[in-house]
């Protein structure tokens, strides 16, 4: 048991009991869908429909439906891919690295953050497949035994590394997330009244009994998975960055990319977690579990990673000048002052300038300000990838091939569509799965809540004496 300083703010507020936690988290799972949720889902479904239509056009007619050309072979597709992968970083970082560092504040946000990771990676994984000219042959990038003789995949290609990195990351995240869900599913199962819900959650909880042995194994597995997931947090975006760093294109061919991309990924991931959590805590009345303390902690991570990203931008410029390579120099001057200057300065404003406002405690603890800045960061990080990809490609070595890129309606449709897909999945998750990890929050209730820990007072962590004396309700 580690010591918690008494001056630290409690992580659970509102004098919650164990039962309150169960009640609060299970409420939206068990209750009828509320109107706000249904409205949100309707909007998300419209986005999903746009996604399906845009993907149909892409698959049926070809990549020509997008705005790409002979010079700019990647644009919104890979921008979106990197953006979504980046967003997917926060979940694992929160649940794995913060678990290893024993950061208790992660417990109430890790579930939603991990879900966000899974959904973001699903959205991200769409693009490497969709952007292929012949997506029906996507399986050729897997090193499968084949009938083509000794034909093997090209292990030199960073795209191939991507395939491994993303699929590993996705599977580990999924398992990690699911294992964490099992005790909570069991809780819902035990409380379920309807036959369908009971059976469904029984199946999902995989026969969890809540025995001490099960808990012990659960803890061990969590720790092992956290250990496995930790390097992945760093590796995925490192490898994604190598798509660019190993190329010969000025503006891509940069050794700073791996750390810069990882920092950017965490930056954008935390921003997205904030965006989602600020809404979720409001909609589902979870203010006592996702507190201002949580928001502030995440804002601190944002200011750190945002500053790293800012330094990276500056370093790129310095190195371009210092290298003395004409093409490098032009690539960066062109970014800032060429035809895509607006994208560059949008990126700078959103990613470097706005997060600096978090140096003020007041802003750091203001939900409105945080929400707005988190949106800014999301936009800025999308522009960062756009700037890297499009401005580097559109004017590379031979001026004869310089060209401009402009998106088609289908480009926009696919992007907006993935946001629809993401929110559809997230809203379904929020309705049917416990958005806060009940088991883990209960574990910190004793050490970090507003409730005193003595049994002699009226307010205790246990809701009723009956419950407190019972040893049958492990999972509440």
């Amino acid at each position: 048991m580690q010591h918690v300083s008494p001056i630290r703010e409690p992580l659970v507020t509102g004098g919650k009991t164990y039962h309150d936690i169960t009640q609060d988290v299970c409420r939206q799972v068990e209750a009828k869908p509320n109107v706000r949720w249904a409205a949100a889902l309707a909007v998300a479904l419209v986005g999903l429909a746009i996604f399906i239509y845009s993907v149909y056009r892409t698959l049926w007619y070809g990549i020509g439906e997008w705005g790409l050309n002979k010079t700019v072979g990647w644009a919104w597709d890979i921008t979106n891919f990197v953006w979504w992968v980046g967003i997917g970083h926060a979940g694992t970082l929160i649940s794995a690295i913060l678990l290893l560092f024993r950061q208790k504040w992660r417990t109430s946000i890790n579930r939603a953050a991990e879900a966000m990771t899974i959904f973001a990676v699903i959205c991200a994984a769409m693009f490497p497949v969709l952007h292929m000219g012949r997506p029906w042959l996507a399986y050729w990038v897997l090193p499968l035994p084949n009938t083509f003789g000794s034909l093997w995949v090209n292990f030199n290609s960073p795209l191939l590394w991507d395939v491994f990195a993303i699929s590993t990351y996705f599977s580990v995240s999924l398992v990690f997330w699911y294992i964490g869900l099992i005790p909570d599913f069991a809780t819902i199962r035990d409380r379920a009244t309807g036959p369908i819900a009971r059976r469904a959650y029984a199946a999902l909880s995989m026969g969890w009994t809540g025995s001490a042995k099960a808990w012990s194994r659960y803890e061990t597995v969590s720790l092992i998975l956290a250990g496995l997931a930790t390097p992945l947090v760093l590796s995925v975006h490192t490898i994604v960055s190598m798509d660019f760093a190993t190329s010969v294109i000025p503006g891509w061919h940069t050794t700073i990319f791996p750390p810069y991309f990882v920092a950017g990924a965490i930056f954008s991931g935390f921003a997205m977690v904030l965006t989602l959590m600020i809404i979720t805590r409001k909609v589902f009345f979870l203010e006592d579990y996702i507190t201002l303390e949580h928001v502030e902690s995440m804002n601190k991570v944002i200011i750190l990673t945002g500053s790293i990203v800012g330094i990276a931008y500056t370093t790129e410029f310095f190195i371009a000048w210092y290298s003395g390579v004409e093409y490098e120099q032009y690539a960066f001057i062109n970014r800032a002052f060429g035809p895509y200057w607006w994208a560059y300065w949008s990126m700078m404003t959103c990613n470097v300038i706005t997060p600096q406002l978090f140096w003020f405690r007041k802003i750091r603890r203001s939900l409105t300000a945080t929400f707005i800045i988190s949106i800014f960061v999301n936009i800025g990080m999308w522009f960062e990838r756009f700037v890297i990809i499009v401005t580097s490609l559109h004017r590379d070595y031979l001026p004869s091939s310089w060209a401009m890129f402009s998106p088609t309606i289908i480009d926009i449709g696919v992007y907006v569509g993935t946001i629809g897909l993401f929110f559809t999945l997230f809203l379904l998750f929020a309705k049917f799965f416990p958005v806060v990890n009940m088991a883990e929050v209960k574990a910190i209730l004793k050490s970090s809540s507003e409730v005193t820990h003595s049994h002699g007072r009226g307010a205790t962590m246990h809701a009723t004496d009956k419950d407190s004396n019972s040893n049958t309700h492990h999972n509440e």
């Binding site: 070809g62 990647w74 997506p135 996507a138 995949v153 960073p158 001026p399 004869s400």
Partner: protein
């Protein structure tokens, strides 16, 4: 023991029934118990029971539906009697000739399984042994154009040849008034003779020749022929508005001559100096060493100034930059007998002065071969104008149009249309219903030239033939055969032609004839053309071109010519060599004018001609265009069902051409008004300056003579042991080439930028045409492109914003760009599925079947030469204009040795790997090494100036090896050498002979 075991076949055998005994020896005893099962009634007795009926019904339903699921059977029918020289899978070449509006090419037609698939230069030709024009390459597709007429027309309706012949014969027999035969220049001596004979039956017959892009003035000044210019002998060339490398007179032979004295021999460097005074920035002007923009109204003054300075007669004139004029005069005078002045003017007066200049410079007999004039243009403007007036006066009884479309392309087109109403019999030989054929009573479609016999004499003493390489696809008939049929002659034109050639044959005629048909050319000095240059002195009075606020020039495009090839999607998509614009015409204007009028590129302008007609076209800001002038290409604005590819493209600018004292001048004043509309121009290159990069290198001739080792900048990379060649500090292991190592050298000094290589590559490699919308999306598919850079206007170093703008009169450099086949190819490492990899002979290969289309290779290509199939371009109605891939007839043109790529795969230059393989296989079959020059890529083959040399760098005796070893450290350089991708394509620095 054996006997003890007895197996019965059945109970019958045991019982040994008589029935059994009867059949026991048969292999299949008949009394199999089928009938019993069926209850004594067999299916075959015709009676079907209810249950069986349902069974049978079910079976047939299933069978029918199964059968309908099968792919339709496409029969490949073998030859019943195989033609002697058709071997499936093996190509045959037949010698032939392409001629259109002066563009003459002696060619070889490559046929596979009886269909022509490629046009290649005829090395036996003395005039055009090296390459072809892009038009000649593209003309092949015209053969498979589905919009050609498939039958003769009578009053616009389908008719039978017999009926048409009968009627034309009868109407000719009682024709009243003049019979006129209107054609563009015919360089066929036999055809000319035939027309003359055809006309001899009529009392009043005239063969009127007019050219759309006329050289009438030049002809008049030189007694009816074009002087035998020889640019190879000229040290100083001065051209005034003559685009002799692109469209003027005979561009392909001229390009060959021109470049002879521009190629640098390292041992004895000499180089001609080329001055160009011109209005538009032409292909020729972009190759000039010194170029001066002039207004059309100043053209005569420039020639006069030159004339007066050279001959010393008349007052000195100061029309243009006096310094440059003085330099040109000085150069010309210093090179007397080695100088040539040419002018593109159609004014006989101007041409007479040019003639006098050349005579004064001693050009006759040196740079002008007086004994062998050119016949490629014979149009007589005055005769045509006279005929139009006669038609309007009603004195013409019958008129024939052969390769002539005056209702569209004559300055007096409206008068032509009006006059035709008064002509009793109008017959057009057009291959489709064009503007004039629409007004004709009969259209008797001519064969495509690849279906015809014909002879040609482009230059005195240079005879060539064309022969049919395919039987006529449609029920068309060669014009000459029609004339023979209408003159009641039974002979065919083939016989007529042969007979006509008896005069030039030596020895046994049949053998001699066979040899000419085989070689395609006869260049022993004998001539068939019956033209005697007149010696009468032409008038020297100069027609005054009125200066106007905005002077417009009508010009011929290098790609689509005067409009005859306008329906050709290949040529439409071939970018203009200078503006790089495709699919349509536009108003080319100088930057200053655009800025003054507040026009940006793509703004639609209303152009009002002198006759108050107006058209609307987008503006294109063209560096080098003389200030105060605009230029519009001819041939566009066709609204005909027979030209679906060209329909809706551009506008008809022929009204710019005006008749001035019986001469057609291709200039007049216009008014420009800005409209609110915009219409983007589909350019394949949208950034025009080099941005101070050393991707293409040039230097001056003076510097080259001083020290050839200093003309090229070589990049060195700093290492701890001093600067090193990029290749010396590689992280990579080099490939080992054991057998061959293919490579290419491109001499930037020889490249004139014409685009023949691009066109040839398109045809050879089945490259799709993507159309204007897709070119605007920057998605053209050309594997071989010619990058054209303008010099930037004056700027400070590193002033990137300023260096994006071309100078107002820029120097131009062309750089053919194709896959560089890097030895350390960046594309090869990044493909996740290894679809692009290195061959053991240095070729960077694409396995289309393996490609999944990530486009990573294209992104990582520093040369941006990879092309992606954004859509399915074949069998896709959206790309219907892509005829070679979207209709059954058009598909005949596809090269069967090259895959048509599907949607979603990457493609790029393969170094014509199919040709490399073929060459190797043939050598192997003959048990030898491939000989140098035997294997040649399509681009190298079609280059009229031999700028591209392809070969085996492993063979020390090959041309490429010799060039490389000689030029190493002098002019040979790799583009982007600092990347150390080690290309197998080497460029040679361009040298300019600046004044």
């Amino acid at each position: 023991m054996q006997d003890r075991i007895k197996y019965w076949k059945g109970i019958e055998e045991l019982e040994n029934a008589s029935e059994f005994e009867k059949h026991a020896h048969n292999e299949f005893p008949e009394f199999l118990p089928i009938n019993e099962v069926e209850g004594g009634e067999s299916v075959s007795n015709g009676k079907t029971r209810r249950r069986d009926f349902l069974k049978l019904l079910g079976f047939s339903m299933a069978a029918v539906s199964l059968a309908s699921c099968e792919a339709p059977v496409r029969k490949a029918i073998p030859y019943l009697n195989k033609p002697v020289d058709v071997e499936p899978g093996i190509a045959n070449w037949y010698a032939s000739t392409f001629y259109l509006n002066g563009d003459y090419n002696s060619i070889l037609v490559k046929t596979r399984e009886g269909r022509p698939i490629k046009i290649e230069p005829n090395p036996s030709s003395g005039l055009t042994p090296l390459g072809t024009s892009p038009k000649a390459q593209g003309s092949l597709l015209g053969l498979y154009d589905t919009n050609r007429l498939r039958y003769p027309l009578k009053a616009g309706k389908e008719a039978k040849w017999e009926d048409v012949d009968k009627e034309i014969r009868s109407r000719l027999s009682n024709v009243s008034g003049k019979v006129a035969f209107v054609s563009s220049t015919i360089i066929s001596p036999s055809t000319q003779k035939l027309i003359k004979e055809f006309g001899s039956r009529f009392g009043n017959f005239e063969h009127v020749t007019y050219d759309v892009n006329s050289a009438s003035g030049l002809l008049q000044a030189n007694g009816g022929v074009i002087p035998g210019y020889d640019f190879s002998k000229a040290n100083i060339i001065v051209s005034i508005n003559a685009d002799f490398l692109g469209t003027w007179v005979a561009p392909v032979p001229f390009a060959k001559q021109y470049i002879q004295n521009r190629k640098l021999n390292p041992d004895n460097p000499t180089m001609s100096r080329h001055y160009q005074f011109e209005t538009i920035l032409s292909l020729t002007g972009s190759n000039a060493d010194v170029r001066v923009p002039i207004k059309p109204s100043d053209e005569a003054a420039v020639v006069t100034a030159l004339h007066n300075a050279i001959t010393g007669r008349g007052a000195s004139s100061t029309a243009v930059d006096a310094k440059i004029m003085a330099a040109a005069v000085k150069d010309l005078q210093a090179n007397s007998g080695r100088a040539l002045v040419v002018s593109g003017s159609n004014d006989p007066g101007v041409q007479a002065m040019v003639k006098a200049i050349n005579t004064a410079l001693g050009a006759d007999g040196t740079t002008i071969d007086t004994a062998a004039p050119y016949y490629v243009k014979q149009g007589n403007d005055a005769a045509m104008i006279r005929l139009i007036e006669e038609m309007n006066a009603g004195s013409v009884g019958a008129v024939f149009f052969y390769n002539a479309n005056p209702a569209y392309n004559h300055p007096l087109a409206a008068r032509v249309a009006a006059g035709l109403k008064k002509v009793g019999l109008k017959v057009s030989f057009a291959d489709r219903v064009e503007e004039t054929a629409k007004l004709a009573d009969f259209v008797t479609p001519d064969h495509h030239y690849l279906e015809s016999w014909n002879d040609f004499e482009p230059k005195k003493g240079f005879l060539s033939l064309s022969q049919p390489v395919i039987s006529p696809i449609f029920t068309t008939r060669q014009m000459q055969d029609s004339l023979l049929a209408w003159s009641e002659q039974k002979t065919e034109f083939y016989e007529y032609l042969r007979n006509n050639w008896r005069t030039v044959a030596t020895g046994k005629f049949d053998e001699a004839w066979e040899k000419v048909v085989h070689d395609g050319v006869l260049e022993n000095g004998s001539s068939l053309m019956n033209i005697t240059p007149s010696t009468a002195a032409a008038s020297t009075s100069v027609r005054k071109v009125q200066p106007a606020a905005i002077e417009a020039v009508l010009y011929e495009k290098v790609s689509v010519g005067c409009g005859e090839l306008i329906n050709n999607p290949w040529l439409q998509e071939l970018p203009d060599p200078v503006s790089k614009a495709t699919w349509g015409n536009y108003v080319a204007m100088p930057r200053l004018m655009a800025e003054e009028m507040g026009i940006v590129q793509g703004d639609v302008l209303k152009v009002t001609f002198a006759n108050n007609e107006s058209i609307e076209l987008p503006a294109l800001v063209q560096p080098g265009q003389a200030n105060g002038t605009v230029a519009i290409a001819m041939g566009y604005g066709r609204d005909l069902e027979s030209m679906p590819v060209a329909k809706g493209l551009g506008a008809n600018a022929f009204p710019i051409a005006t008749v001035n004292d019986n001469a057609v001048l291709y200039t007049s004043g216009v008014k420009l008004e800005k409209t609110n509309a915009t219409s983007p121009i589909a350019q394949t290159q949208t950034h025009h300056t080099i941005m101070d990069r050393i991707v293409v290198q040039e230097n001056t001739f003076a510097k080259y003579k001083e020290n050839p080792k200093e003309v090229t900048e070589y990049i060195r990379i700093a290492t701890h042991s001093g600067p090193a060649k990029p290749a010396a500090i590689s992280l990579w292991d080099d490939y080992e080439y054991k057998n061959h190592h293919w490579g290419m050298v491109i001499d930037l000094n020889s490249c004139i930028g014409c685009g023949a290589c691009t066109m040839s590559c398109n045809v050879e490699n089945n490259i799709p045409v993507v159309g204007k919308a897709e070119v605007l999306m920057r998605r053209e598919m050309h594997w071989m492109r010619i990058d054209r850079y303008y010099s930037a206007k004056e700027h400070e170093p590193k002033d990137y914003a300023e260096m994006e703008h071309p100078a107002d009169n820029p120097s131009v450099i062309f750089q053919p760009m194709l896959c560089q086949h890097c030895n350390h190819a960046p594309c090869e490492t990044v493909c996740p599925v290894a679809a692009t990899m290195h061959s053991s002979e240095g070729i960077n290969q694409m396995a289309y079947n393996r490609c999944v289309g990530t486009r990573y290779c294209a992104n990582n290509c520093p040369y941006k030469v990879r092309r992606f199939n954004w859509f399915a371009y074949a069998n896709n109605d959206k790309f219907g204009f892509n005829e070679p891939m979207n209709n059954d007839l058009g598909k005949m043109v596809l090269n069967p040795d090259v895959t048509v790529r599907g949607r979603g795969v990457m493609e790029k230059c393969s170094f014509c790997v199919q040709r490399v393989q073929l060459g190797k296989l043939e050598a192997k079959r003959e048990n030898r090494r491939p000989k140098d020059g035997e294997i040649v890529t399509a681009c190298a083959q079609s280059c009229p100036t031999e700028a591209i040399v392809f070969g085996d760098m492993k063979d020390p005796e090959s041309r490429i090896s010799k060039i490389l070893s000689r030029q190493q450290g002098e002019r040979a350089f790799h583009v982007l050498e600092e990347l150390n991708v080690q290309p197998n394509v080497t460029y040679l620095t361009k040298i300019r002979n600046l004044a």
